[in-house]
C-alpha cells in the first residue's frame, strides 16, 4: 500500500466537453475539467447541479452522450465500470451486508486474485489506517455510521485505484464526526497520493478538504480554483453567494477610462479597480469579515449583535433598507456594540467583488 511496494501511478483525469442527458433533461452540459495527478478535486454545487451524474459517468455507471473522459491520456468512455481502475465511496456506503468488515475490505483484492497472505497483510494495514482494526470480524449491521464510513473508505483505497471517487461520503454523519472524518480522508489522501474526485453540496466541507474546487450549477462549471481563490476571488454572482457568506450591496456605478469604477451607496462612495467597465448599477459582494465600522460609510443601525467568542456578528439595518452582516474580531476591539446603536459600515474596495448585474459576472480586478 504505502512505501513497501512500488506504487502504481495515480491518474490524471481529463474531462472534455462531457454531455449527459436523461431524456429531455441535460444533467451535465458540456463540462471540461483537468484534474491533476494526486490532486484532491471537489465537485461542489447545490443538489441537481449534475455533480453526482458527472461522478457516476467517471465511474462508468452512466454512459455519457457526448465528450470524452481520459485517465492519463487513455480514453475510458468505452471501458466498462469494473475495468476502470477506480475506487469509489458511496453516499450510503454500500457496504456488503452479508460480509464481515474484513471480507468487505478484502473484496477488491480477492477479485484481483492477490495471494492470501498479501490480502491479509494489506487488509490489516488498511483497517489500522482507518482505525477500525478491532472491528474486523463484525458484520456491517453491528457498526455505527462512522465505522461503516471507515469500512467503505478502506475498501475503496485498498485496491490502490488510479482514481478515488467519493459521492457525498460524509452527508450521513453527524457534524462532529463529519469534521473528524474530513481530516481522516484528507490525511489519507495525502499519504496515498491518489487522485481524488469528491462530490459535495457542503461548501465548508469543500473548502476544508480540497486542493481545488469546481463549483457547478445546472450542469455547468461556474468556476474552478483553489479553495482560497474561489472564496476570495469569485468569478460570478453564483460562486460569491454559494461559497461562504456574503452581503450583496446595491450601488450606482460609473467607470472611468482608467479602469476605476466609482460605486455610490447613498452617501458612501468608493473607487474599485475593475477589469471591465460597469455602468448604471453594480452589485458589491462583501463578506462579513470584509466589512468594518467607521466614521463614515453606509449609514445604518445595529439591529442584532451576537457574541460568538472569537468574533461578534452584527446585523446592520441600513437606512435604505438593506440588511448587512458584519463580523468584528473580539481581539481587535474592546467591547460589544449595543443593539440599536447608529453606525457606518465601510469596506476596502480592493478586497470586495464587484458584480455586473446584467451578466452576473465579477468585474473586479482583484489586485491585478
Amino acid at each position: 500500500m504505502v512505501g513497501n511496494e512500488e506504487k502504481q501511478m495515480s491518474h490524471q483525469v481529463s474531462i472534455c466537453n462531457v454531455v449527459k442527458r436523461f431524456g429531455d433533461f441535460t444533467a451535465v452540459d458540456g463540462v471540461s475539467l483537468e484534474i491533476k495527478e494526486g490532486e484532491f478535486f471537489t465537485l461542489l454545487g447545490p443538489s441537481g447541479c449534475g455533480k453526482t451524474t458527472l461522478l457516476r459517468a467517471i465511474a462508468g455507471f452512466n454512459q455519457i452522450n457526448e465528450g470524452e473522459i481520459r485517465f492519463s491520456d487513455r480514453v475510458i468512455n468505452q471501458i466498462p465500470a469494473h475495468k476502470r481502475d477506480i475506487g469509489m465511496v458511496f453516499q450510503n456506503y454500500a457496504i456488503f451486508p452479508h460480509l464481515t468488515v474484513r471480507e468487505n475490505v478484502a473484496y477488491g483484492l480477492k477479485a484481483k486474485k492477490y495471494p492470501r497472505k498479501e490480502i491479509d497483510a494489506k487488509v490489516t494495514q488498511a483497517l489500522e489506517m482507518v482505525q477500525i482494526a478491532a472491528l474486523k470480524d463484525r458484520k456491517p449491521s453491528e457498526l455505527s455510521g462512522g465505522q461503516q464510513q471507515r469500512v467503505a473508505l478502506a475498501r475503496a483505497f485498498i485496491i490502490e485505484p488510479g482514481v478515488l471517487l467519493m459521492d457525498e461520503p460524509l452527508s450521513n454523519l453527524d457534524a462532529k464526526l463529519r469534521v473528524q472524518m474530513r481530516s481522516v480522508i484528507k490525511k489519507l489522501q495525502r499519504r496515498l497520493g491518489i487522485t481524488t474526485i469528491y462530490v459535495t453540496h457542503d461548501q465548508e466541507e469543500a473548502l476544508a478538504i480540497s486542493d481545488r474546487i469546481a463549483v457547478m450549477k445546472a450542469g455547468h462549471i461556474m468556476q474552478v480554483g483553489a479553495p482560497e481563490e474561489v472564496y476570495r476571488h469569485p468569478q460570478n454572482r453564483f460562486v460569491s453567494g454559494f461559497i461562504g457568506t456574503t452581503n450583496f450591496i446595491e450601488s450606482a456605478a460609473e467607470t472611468n477610462g482608467g479602469g476605476i469604477a466609482l460605486l455610490k451607496m447613498e452617501d458612501y462612495t468608493v473607487r474599485a479597480r475593475v477589469k471591465r467597465p460597469v455602468s448604471g448599477k453594480a452589485l458589491v459582494s462583501a463578506r462579513p469579515e470584509q466589512l468594518f465600522f467607521g466614521e463614515e460609510g453606509i449609514a445604518g443601525r445595529i439591529s442584532l449583535s451576537t457574541f460568538l467568542g472569537d468574533f461578534v456578528e452584527y446585523e446592520v439595518q441600513t437606512d435604505d433598507g438593506q440588511t448587512l452582516l458584519l463580523n468584528e474580531y473580539t481581539k481587535d476591539v474592546s467591547g460589544v456594540r449595543p443593539d440599536g446603536e447608529r453606525c457606518h459600515v465601510r469596506f476596502d474596495a480592493d478586497s470586495i467583488a464587484v458584480i455586473d448585474p446584467e451578466t452576473e459576472e465579477v468585474v473586479s480586478a482583484f489586485g491585478i
Binding site: A59, G60, F61, Q78, I79, P80, A81, H82, K83, R84, D85, I86, G87, M88, F90, Q91, N92, A94, I95, F96, P97, H98, Y107, G108, A111, K112, P140, S141, Q148, A152, R155, A156, I159
Partner: protein, 549 residues
C-alpha cells in the same frame, strides 16, 4: 472484444430467458388461443366467446369466481398482514414453530384438504354431528360459496403472511423510528409508514391469493356443489369435450387468462409507482410483551394456526386408522403405509425426482429473470416476467393441455415423458421463486452492486458474489413455496401423467376417486412430512440468519 462480451452477459441472459419463455410458455399457449377462436374443424369463429357471454349460466360462473376470489383475497390480506405484524414485531417463543405451521397449512394436499373439511364440518362431519349431539349447536353449512371462501382463506392467507413478514423484517428500523420521532402514534405509524412501505409485498401476496383462488378447482369441485366457478367450468368442459378439440374450454380459459393478466398489469403499475429502495442495515428488533398482553395476542394467533392446520391434522390422524374399504374403522395401524410402499412406490419416486429437477431449473431461471425484471427494467424484461406468471394463473388442466397439444407433434413427441411433467412443473411453479426473489431485490440498493463492479468485479461475477447471496433469502423462500406446490400439483399432472410418470398427488386423487381414503391419507401424510423435513433442514442451513421466509 472481451470488454464487450462482459457487458453483454445480461443481454445474452435476456435472449436465453426469452427463448425459454417462448418455447415453454408462449408457444404452447398460442395453441390454446388458436383453439379458443376456432371451431373443432379449424375454422375461425367467435362462437365460443359468444356462447359464454350470452348465457346467464356462464355469466353467473364469472360472477361467482370474482366474488370468491375477491372475498378470499380481502380476508387473506387482513389475516396475513395481522399475523405477519404480530409475529415479526413481538417476541414469541413459539414463533418459529408457528411459522412452520403456517407454511404447512399452505400445503393441504389437493382434494384431501377439502375432503378433510367435509370430514369435519360436512353434513355428517365429525364436528357437525358432535356439536349437535353434545351442545345442540347447528353448524352453518360449509357447502357453497362461504365454504369455498373459508377453505381458501385458511389455505391461502399464508401467501400474504409469508411475503409480508419477509418485508417487515427487512424494513430499516430508522424509518419507523423517524415516524415515531415525528410524533405519530403507533396506529398512525402502522398505517401511514409501515404498511405502505411493505405494500409491494402485501400486494404480491394478495395477487398470489387471488390467482390461486381463481385457478383452484379441487376445493370448489368438492364443496361448491352447485356453486360453479371458472376453474370447475374449464375442467368440466374439458372433461366433457375430451376427445374433441376442447375449443370451448379454451375460450373459457382465455377469459381466465385475460382476467389474471389484467390483475398482473395492475400490480405492475402499482409497483412502478412505488419502487422503494431500502438497505436494512438495522432490521427492527422484536418487542418484548408482558405476560398478559402476550397471552391476549397468542390466543387468536394459535386459533388461526390450528384452524389452518386442521386438514393436515385430520389427514395425518386418519392415515393411521384402520380402514375397511371407504370406511375408517376402530383401531390404529400402519396398514395404509404398507399398502402404498408396496403398491405405489413409483408415484413416490417420481414426485421427488421430478420436483427436484424442476426446482433446480426454477432457482436458476427464477433468479436470472428476477434480476432482469428489477435491475434491467425494459419492455422486454417486463414482458418476460409477465409471461412467466401466465402459466401459474392458468388452470393447470389448460396448461397441461397446451403442453400436450404443443409438444405432441413434429418435431417434439414428448407426451407421456418425464420431461413434459418437469417442464410443466417448472413453468407453473416458477412464479413463487421469481416473485419472492424480485421482492428482495427491490428492497436492495443498487449501489451495493455498483460498489462491487467498481472494485473490479465484472457485472456477471458481481451477480454471483453479491447480488445472489443477498437475494438468496428471497430465492430460497420462494423456492420452498415452488417445491411444495410442485409436489402437490394435481391439475396439470392429471392430464399429463401416464402409468410410468404417475406422481403422488395423482395417486392420491385416484385413491380418493376409488374411495380408498386410508392410502390417500397416508400418501398425503408423506407429502406433508417431506415438507416439514425440508423446512427443518432449511432452518439448520440458514442458522437463523434467514427467516423461514
Amino acid at each position: 472484444m472481451h470488454q464487450k462480451a462482459n457487458r453483454d452477459v445480461w443481454s445474452v441472459m435476456k435472449v436465453v430467458t426469452l427463448i425459454f419463455v417462448g418455447l415453454s410458455i408462449l408457444y404452447p399457449l398460442s395453441t390454446v388461443v388458436i383453439r379458443s377462436v376456432t371451431t373443432s374443424d379449424g375454422n375461425a369463429t367467435l362462437q365460443n366467446f359468444i356462447k359464454f357471454f350470452s348465457k346467464e349460466y356462464y355469466l353467473d360462473v364469472l360472477n361467482n369466481t370474482m366474488f370468491v376470489a375477491g372475498v378470499t383475497t380481502l380476508l387473506s390480506v387482513v389475516l396475513g398482514v395481522a399475523m405477519a405484524y404480530a409475529l415479526t414485531r413481538y417476541d414469541f417463543r413459539l414463533k418459529r414453530v408457528l411459522n412452520v405451521c403456517i407454511i404447512l397449512s399452505l400445503m393441504s394436499p389437493p382434494f384431501i384438504g377439502a375432503y378433510s373439511w367435509i370430514l369435519l364440518f360436512g353434513r355428517s362431519g365429525f364436528v357437525t354431528t358432535k356439536a349437535l349431539e353434545w351442545f345442540g349447536w347447528v353448524f352453518p353449512t360449509i357447502y357453497g360459496k362461504w365454504g369455498i371462501v373459508s377453505v381458501f382463506v385458511c389455505k391461502m392467507f399464508p401467501y400474504v403472511y409469508l411475503f409480508t413478514s419477509g418485508a417487515l423484517g427487512s424494513i430499516d428500523s430508522s424509518l419507523e423510528e423517524a415516524a415515531e420521532n415525528l410524533g405519530s402514534t403507533k396506529g398512525y405509524r402502522l398505517f401511514h409508514i409501515t404498511l405502505p412501505l411493505v405494500s409491494p409485498s402485501i400486494l404480491a401476496g394478495a395477487v398470489m391469493v387471488f390467482m390461486s383462488a381463481v385457478s383452484d378447482f379441487g376445493t370448489p369441485m368438492l364443496i361448491g356443489e352447485n356453486y360453479k366457478v371458472l376453474a370447475t367450468l374449464v375442467y368440466e368442459q374439458y372433461m366433457s369435450e375430451m376427445g374433441t378439440s376442447s375449443n370451448f374450454a379454451s375460450a373459457v380459459s382465455m377469459i381466465v387468462i385475460v382476467l389474471c393478466i389484467l390483475l398482473l398489469l395492475l400490480q405492475r403499475w402499482y409497483l412502478n409507482r412505488r419502487n422503494y429502495c431500502m438497505t436494512s442495515l438495522r432490521p427492527p428488533q422484536p418487542q418484548k410483551l408482558r405476560f398478559g398482553k402476550k397471552l391476549l395476542m397468542l390466543v387468536p394467533i394459535l386459533l388461526v394456526v390450528v384452524i389452518a392446520l386442521l386438514p393436515q391434522i385430520v389427514v395425518i390422524v386418519t392415515s393411521f386408522k384402520n380402514c375397511n374399504g371407504p370406511y375408517f374403522v376402530a383401531g390404529w395401524s400402519l396398514e395404509s403405509y404398507q399398502t402404498i410402499f408396496t403398491r405405489m412406490v413409483r408415484g413416490i419416486k417420481n414426485t421427488y425426482f421430478f420436483s427436484v429437477i424442476a426446482l433446480a431449473v426454477m432457482i436458476v431461471v427464477g433468479s436470472v429473470t428476477a434480476y432482469l425484471s428489477v435491475r434491467k427494467r425494459s419492455l422486454l424484461t417486463a414482458a418476460i416476467d409477465m409471461s412467466l406468471m401466465v402459466p401459474y394463473v392458468i388452470p393447470g388442466a389448460v396448461m397441461g393441455l397446451a403442453l400436450i397439444i404443443a409438444f405432441n407433434r413434429s418435431p417434439f413427441y414428448l407426451a407421456g415423458t418425464a420431461f413434459i411433467m418437469i417442464l410443466c412443473y417448472t413453468v407453473r411453479k416458477i412464479p413463487y421463486t421469481v416473485r419472492s426473489a424480485s421482492g428482495f431485490l427491490q428492497q436492495m440498493e443498487l449501489s451495493v452492486e455498483e460498489a462491487s463492479i467498481n472494485l473490479g468485479v465484472s457485472p456477471a461475477k458481481t451477480f454471483f458474489k453479491i447480488t445472489l447471496p443477498l437475494m438468496l433469502p428471497g430465492v430460497v423462500s420462494g423456492a420452498i413455496l415452488s417445491w411444495i406446490e410442485t409436489i402437490n400439483e394435481l391439475s396439470s399432472s392429471i392430464l399429463l401423467y401416464t402409468g410410468k410418470t404417475i406422481t403422488m398427488s395423482v395417486a392420491i386423487y385416484n385413491e380418493v376417486a376409488r374411495n380408498s381414503f386410508g392410502t390417500a391419507a397416508a400418501m398425503a401424510t408423506i407429502l406433508t412430512i417431506s415438507a416439514i423435513i425440508m423446512l427443518v433442514v432449511f432452518n439448520r442451513v440458514s442458522k437463523g440468519k434467514v427467516s423461514i421466509v
